[in-house]
C-alpha cells in the first residue's frame, strides 16, 4: 500500500555506467518531482512534471533525463555516472502545485565507485 514507491532503494555502480531509478505513486496526484539530497543532507529539486509535462528543470547536467510515461510514474535515467552523482535521490508527488505538501518516496541511495 506504499503511496510513493521508488526502486531500487540502494544502487552501487561504477563510474561511467548508466542507471535508472523508477518511481510510482498511487495517490492520484498529478505532479511528480525528483529531489537530490547531498552528503550534507541538503535537498534540492531537480525536475517536476505535471500530467506528464515537464514543468521544472533546474540546472542539472543533461546526463540526467527524467521520463514520465503517465502521471503516476516518473523515472530518472542517469548516463555516464560520475563520483559526484553519489547522493540520495527522492521522488515525491503532490496535487497541483503542492500547497498541501508533497508525499515522498523512501529514497534511493546511489553510490558511484
Amino acid at each position: 500500500d506504499t503511496a510513493v514507491s521508488q526502486t531500487p532503494k540502494y544502487l552501487v555502480t561504477q563510474m561511467g555506467n548508466d542507471k535508472s531509478i523508477k518511481c510510482e505513486q498511487n495517490l492520484g496526484h498529478d505532479t511528480m518531482y525528483w529531489y537530490k539530497q547531498d552528503s550534507k543532507k541538503f535537498l534540492k529539486i531537480m525536475f517536476s512534471y505535471n500530467n506528464k509535462e515537464l514543468i521544472i528543470n533546474e540546472t542539472v547536467p543533461n546526463r540526467f533525463s527524467p521520463k514520465s510515461p503517465d502521471k503516476a510514474h516518473l523515472n530518472l535515467h542517469i548516463n555516464s555516472l560520475e563520483l559526484g552523482d553519489s547522493a540520495v535521490y527522492f521522488c515525491a508527488s503532490s496535487l497541483g502545485t503542492g500547497t498541501r505538501g508533497y508525499t515522498f518516496g523512501s529514497g534511493t541511495r546511489l553510490t558511484v565507485v
Binding site: 550534507k40 543532507k41 529539486i45 502545485t97 503542492g98 508533497y102
Partner: protein, 115 residues
C-alpha cells in the same frame, strides 16, 4: 528567489521537555505555504505540520505547533513533551502557488533527544 534559513545545525532536548527549532524565509510573495518535515534515520521524509500564510492562527498537530510571524518571515517549530522517537533531522520548507512553484528546503536541524 525564495530562500529558507535554519540557523541551528543541531539541537538537543531532554525527554519530556520542550524544544523550539527556528526557521526564517525570504519571499516577495503574499500567498505561500510553509511546512516542517521530519527525516528520521530511516531517511523517510514525513510531513509534520503545514501553515497557510494567509491564516494568522498558528497550526498545531498534537505535540507539534508553530509560531508563524509573517511580518518577521519567521516560522519556528515547537515540540512539546519530547519523545525519543522525535530524534531526527527537521527541515523547514516553503512553496508559493505559481505553476512552476517548488518546495524549497532549509539546511535542516538535527534534533537529539536524551534521557
Amino acid at each position: 528567489a525564495q530562500t529558507v534559513t535554519q540557523s541551528q545545525p543541531e539541537m538537543s532536548v531532554q525527554e519530556a521537555e520542550t524544544v523550539t527549532l527556528s526557521c526564517t524565509y525570504d519571499t516577495s510573495e503574499s500567498d505561500y505555504y510553509l511546512f516542517w518535515y521530519k527525516q528520521p534515520p530511516s531517511r523517510q521524509m514525513i510531513l509534520v505540520i503545514r501553515q497557510e500564510a494567509y491564516k494568522q492562527q498558528n497550526a498545531t498537530e498534537n505535540r507539534f505547533s508553530v509560531n508563524f510571524q509573517k511580518a518577521a518571515k519567521s516560522f519556528s517549530l515547537k515540540i512539546s513533551d519530547s519523545q525519543l522517537g522525535d530524534a531526527a533531522m527537521y527541515f523547514c520548507a516553503y512553496t508559493s502557488t505559481g505553476t512552476a512553484s517548488k518546495l524549497t528546503f532549509g539546511t535542516g536541524t538535527r534534533l537529539q533527544v536524551t534521557l
